[in-house]
């Protein structure tokens, strides 16, 4: 019964979203603010309805109600309870329901955040957002209903793909979705601004916290997915340039560009049209990512049961929203008041460079991801575009961006001074160069890329710290004055310094992968495998039984430089509930940010020896630690005071939309 009510509440949510989409626009047209504000309670209502529906589905999973088709196909009564719960979104229908739930959550948050937004903008935004909700609710109700019943109910479920029975992967989709879907708000803001024909610094200020929130969750989601691939697939790699990974990287790159361009718009009232376009593109790339992953065009762990009808439906949604918004942009953008031009050497100039490189890098990923699909569609030839392509295109674009980052960060608005900036950065540059030379000397004969990359990372961190220090120390004398300045500095200044330092930390982690080692050996108990100062000694192989699997455990003693450092258990699991599907549970031991990683391969025919892979991964954890620090920086920026203060009651006088009145350069 509960399940039917949940199904009904999905349909109700669809109706209410239609109200949220249509009525406010009509109200704004007629200048009837009472009607225009209908969107707010509607948005909250849609969220509550979907929250209920999602809760019911989760409950069905919790109690293993196999009369629900979705549960029967993706759960098993012997599955650990936590994975029963997270299995709610470990399948196509449930994950799409989570997608719209988060969409509705963001809508409700916009509706509730009444102080910080001008009325017309909020109404328009809620209406635009509701249109996305309507499309995806239709998609769920027509093609992917999670509440279908099975009659008679099977006695036992089919279980979840064992690879997904993992805590890391359980929290990866919600994080990623909050990121993807969060950009729908900036998209909705852009659509509202285009329809309204007005865009100014108030708009930029209103959009920025939402963009930051979406960006930081996307950052965490991508990092989590990457860490999962690292430890669960048993290959020791952390990024494969797999199309599915690229699908999440593209909105991240565009979103990173967007959070920087909104700064220019807010502070200098410039780059408006570009920012609007970027907001549209970022969400379009999120939709594209959803399409690539959900439609079955690409095959991966993300592709659950594929159904051409679903792919077609998402493709239509994709075309309507991307095509529609770009058409609206082409029609309305020329009517927006253009911002002024500015000096190339200035902070805003540097942010344009940032946008340029990020957009170009995003473009190369886009081509590398979609070209094989297009080629196959057109000529039937099957090709794969792998890491060599991306290393040859993406890295050359990203490295100059990272080298220039500190310069932009410490340059003044309006009129920067390249020489002065370089002088201010001298200390950071010297620290970076010294780090490179020292590491190069210590590891002489090793890969050259690693010391260079680490030098770059150190330079990024040092300049972020140095820049912050300078801002605090400037013109302040005495401990008290310094403390006062430190407290008075806006939180966004700390946020950006922390985020940029996080980039540096990630760069160091990535550079250090050049030193990673890999050894393979057939081992039996008593055998030793050494690399550098690290040795593993196989102690025993023994079977073990878990709740829904059997496993062979290989136990290894670890020695580093002759000292015993504990044991590593590495497993090969066989899931009886899923056709004896096997997974590899790598044994990992961390030494600070470095890791020793041992995974098992085939048990040899003699039954006592096994193929063992041993990896040493120096500083590997920094990749993900840096990402988390980036996200922390973003979170700190959101709490900046200027985003919390109320919007001015009357946004500045409208300079008639469509008035192409030229702005003086400064």
């Amino acid at each position: 019964m509960l399940v039917e009510i949940a199904h009904f509440s999905l349909a109700l949510a669809l109706g209410l979203s239609l109200v949220q989409m249509v009525i406010p626009v009509w109200g704004v047209r007629r200048n009837d603010m009472a009607l225009a504000r209908v969107g707010e309670p509607a948005a909250v209502g849609v969220f509550l309805l979907l929250f209920f529906a999602f809760g019911v589905l989760m409950y069905a999973y919790a109690v293993s109600d196999f009369s629900v088709q979705n549960v029967a196909e993706n759960s098993h009564s012997a599955k650990p309870f936590i994975y029963k719960l997270t299995g709610t979104w470990g399948n196509h229908e449930g994950s799409m329901l989570l997608w719209v739930l988060i969409l509705a959550l963001f809508g409700a948050l916009v509706a509730v955040a009444r102080k910080s937004l001008p009325d017309r903008l909020r109404s328009g935004t809620l209406a635009a957002q509701a249109s996305v909700t309507v499309a995806f609710l239709l998609f769920i109700l027509l093609t992917s209903n999670p509440f279908n019943r099975l009659d008679p109910a099977p006695p036992e479920g089919n279980d979840l793909n064992p690879l997904l029975q993992d805590l890391g992967l359980a929290i990866h989709p919600p994080l990623l979705y909050i990121g993807y879907v969060g950009f729908s708000i900036t998209y909705a803001f852009a659509i509202a601004a285009l329809i309204d024909g007005r865009i100014d610094a108030v708009w930029a200020r209103a959009v920025r916290p939402w963009t930051l929130a979406a960006w930081l969750f996307l950052t965490l989601g991508i990092a989590m997915g990457s860490y999962w691939a690292y430890y669960e697939l048993g290959w020791g790699g952390w990024w494969f340039w797999d199309p599915v990974e690229n699908a999440s990287l593209m909105p991240w790159l565009a979103g990173t560009a967007l959070i920087h361009s909104t700064i220019v718009m807010e502070k200098r009232d410039s780059l408006k049209v570009w920012t609007i376009l970027l907001a549209i593109l970022t969400f379009s790339l999120s939709l594209l990512g959803t399409f690539l992953v959900r439609s079955g065009v690409l095959t991966s762990v993300h592709t659950f049961a594929t159904d051409p009808q679903r792919g077609l439906f998402i493709l239509i949604i994709l075309m309507v929203f991307i095509g529609g918004s770009l058409a609206l942009f082409a029609w309305r953008a020329p009517m927006l008041r253009q911002g002024g031009l500015f000096a190339p050497v200035s902070r805003e100039g540097a942010l344009v460079i940032n946008n340029l490189f990020l957009a170009a890098a995003c473009g190369t990923v886009f081509i590398g991801t979609l070209y094989p699909l297009a080629l196959e569609g057109l000529t039937g030839a099957k090709i794969s575009v792998g890491p060599p392509f991306f290393n040859a295109t993406f890295l050359p674009l990203l490295i100059p961006l990272l080298l220039l980052l500190p310069f932009g960060q410490s340059m003044a608005w309006k009129r920067g001074d390249l020489l002065g900036t370089a002088q201010r950065l001298a200390t950071a540059i010297i620290i970076g160069v010294v780090a490179t030379v020292m590491i190069f000397a210590v590891t002489y004969g090793g890969p050259v890329a690693a010391p260079l990359g680490i030098g770059l990372g150190v330079f990024l961190i040092a300049s972020a710290v140095w820049d912050l220090g300078e801002r605090i120390m400037a013109r302040a004398s005495g401990f008290r004055a310094i403390l006062a300045r430190a407290a008075g500095l806006p939180r966004s200044a700390y946020g950006s310094a922390i985020a940029h330092a996080g980039v540096g930390i990630t760069v160091i982690g990535i550079a250090a992968t050049a030193w990673a080692t890999e050894d393979i050996a057939v081992m039996k108990p008593g055998d030793r495998l050494s690399r550098g100062g690290t040795t593993i000694i196989m102690q025993q192989i023994f079977p073990h039984t878990g709740p829904n699997y059997r496993e062979m455990v290989g136990r290894f003693a670890v020695e580093v430089d002759g000292k015993e450092r504990g044991v590593i258990d590495s497993m090969k699991r066989t899931f009886i509930t899923r056709n004896n599907m096997q997974t590899t549970e790598a044994g990992i031991r961390s030494f600070g940010p470095s890791q020793l990683y041992v995974s098992l391969g085939e048990i040899q025919p003699d039954g006592t020896s096994v193929v063992v892979r041993m990896y040493t991964k120096p500083l590997i954890l920094l990749i993900w630690i840096g990402s988390v620090i980036m996200a922390l920086g973003g979170a700190l920026s959101i709490t900046d005071r200027r985003f919390r203060v109320a919007a001015p009651a009357k946004p500045r006088a409208r300079a008639g939309a469509g008035d192409p009145h030229p702005q003086p350069a400064e």
């Binding site: 030839a381 040859a392 599907m581 096997q582």
Partner: protein, 149 residues
């Protein structure tokens, strides 16, 4: 700087970065793209030794020979087959009679030396390329899939 110079500087730098990006993409497209072939393609089209490509098909039943870390097996599309050798740990879902995609270089004697065997994520999943290669040979039937999904 005058207004015109500023505009030129900005447009010029945009053009420059985009041109570099386009150049990099075109260059990398020529150098680092890998084609996919089924066993019949390899034999019928007489692909030259030394060519790097992806080979996909079914692992022939009874053809897998393990010697320490080196594995040799036949990849078949049921009409033709190619012998593959690979050193390293196979993905968890590598089995006889199942679909597989390998990447490597064709040797002079017709042996395919793979340096990677691609992991699959699900036991019922057939790489799409493999399914298409089998369809081309007319041997494809929908696997006796579980009734749902």
């Amino acid at each position: 700087m005058t207004r015109k110079q500023r505009r030129l500087a900005i447009i010029g730098s945009c053009g420059f970065v985009l041109a570099v990006a386009a150049g990099l993409v075109l260059f990398a497209m020529r150098e680092s793209i890998v084609f996919f072939h089924g066993p019949s393609d390899v034999i019928d089209k007489a692909i030259q030794a030394g060519t790097r490509f992806r080979l996909g098909g079914l692992v022939k039943e009874g053809s897998v020979v393990r010697e320490g870390q080196t594995v040799t097996f036949d990849v078949t599309d049921t009409s033709k087959q190619v012998r593959v050798t690979y050193t390293g740990i196979l993905p968890d879902l590598f089995r006889e009679g199942q679909g597989v995609v390998t990447e490597g270089v064709l040797q002079a004697g017709g042996l395919f030396k793979a340096d990677s065997v691609l992991a699959r994520h699900d036991e019922t999943y057939m790489p799409r390329e493999v399914a298409d290669a089998l369809k081309k040979q007319g041997h494809w039937q929908q696997a006796p899939a579980k009734p749902q999904s």
